[in-house]
Amino acid sequence: MAKSPVDARSFFRFFGLFSDLLTVRNVILLGALAVIALTAAFGGWSAAADDTDETPEFEAADEIIATPFTVEVLEVFWAPEAGSLVYSGDSMFLLVRARIEVDNNEAVQEGLLSKAVTGFLPEPLEPQPGLWSNSLADDGSIGTPMIFRAIDGHRARGFQPGLGGEYWLAWQLPPDTEPAQRVEFHYFEHTWRKSSLEDAFLWTDRRLVGTQVLTPEFREESGL
């Protein structure tokens, strides 16, 4: 025998027991509690804005502004050695030639660029002991690059303001690294901010400003 539908009258009778609670004041209070609960659960408008993926995706030929740097990638490839730039040993190199300029009134130390650019292979890299570029990377990235001056091959120590030039960014990775045909580069900006602890200005607040997918080829010789 089929179950009979709920009697509508008994339904209204049940809610009638609580009808005295249904006042304007209580409805407003309930609405306010709902807003507080939703904010606690989802983080409010600011968190909603954070969740939207608005990180720009740059094309291969784009000039990318990652304050204080402007970076334009000119060439990218894999090679088992980096010529005269650095002792290769048994390694796999990802090499990027880029035009780089700083938009700042004072010189910027080389290490800041190393923190401003990194890349991700299709399969995350596991850090391995040794002096590899990704040895200290805990995010599966290829870590921080070494920077060399393209004009003479010497290690770059700093970037002088308005003195743009070409540089090699070299990631020295373990020799068993698969030379992927797709690398997603991430660019980070920094802010020149005064530290209240050290009473000095520092480049800080690293923030992702864009990604760029590049397709490096593999070369038996770097030609460097």
Partner: protein, 185 residues
């Protein structure tokens, strides 16, 4: 009568307090004073006697590339080459980096790619070096700032400032740099 005697004293005391307070408010604190260098003007070829050391820039030149430690360093701009003599007075000193500041406020010289550094001074021993600062090739007027302290622009200590007219200095294809050595030029 008693009030008439006390009143001038009270006025003098209050005036003294007001003057002292005004002086305290308007004079910079020692921390504010020590944030900036004490600037001393100089010229190329002239001895500058500063509080902690004597400095002479004997010559300036521009070079397309420089040699240091057996390697050649090219430039995306041009190298400003400086022949410098220093004598520290009372204590050993590793002076801060020399800076070239252009009219538009840019500073060059921190984190240099060429390795010759003028530093490692011993008191009473005259020492010389030839160093280089990489600058854009189109800079024609600038000032050279040489700290007589441990930090660039030597906050709280003397800084020698030499105006540079870069249209008027010799241009060389290549210049040999030299780290700090003992002895006069």
């Amino acid at each position: 009568m008693k009030f008439a005697r006390v009143l001038p004293a009270a006025v003098i005391i209050l005036a003294g307090l007001a003057i002292g307070s005004a002086i305290d408010r308007n004079f910079p604190t020692s921390a504010e004073v020590l944030k900036e260098p004490f600037e001393h003007a100089g010229t190329i070829g002239e001895l500058a006697e500063l509080r902690t050391m004597d400095i002479t820039v004997h010559a300036a030149a521009m070079a397309e590339s420089v040699l240091a430690h057996g390697y050649e360093y090219a430039s995306n701009g041009i190298w400003l080459v400086l022949d410098v003599e220093m004598l520290t007075h009372t204590s050993p000193m590793i002076p801060g980096r020399m800076i070239v500041r252009t009219e538009d406020g840019r500073s060059f010289g921190e984190f240099p790619d060429a390795p010759a550094v003028c530093g490692g001074l011993q008191p009473g021993i005259r020492q010389t070096c030839i160093t280089a600062i990489e600058i854009p090739a189109d800079v024609s007027v600038a000032e050279l700032r040489i700290p007589a302290g441990h930090y660039a622009d030597s906050p709280g200590d003397d800084t020698l400032i030499i105006p540079l007219d870069l249209t008027d200095v010799p241009r060389l294809p290549v210049a040999q740099l030299r780290p700090m050595i003992v002895g006069e030029r």
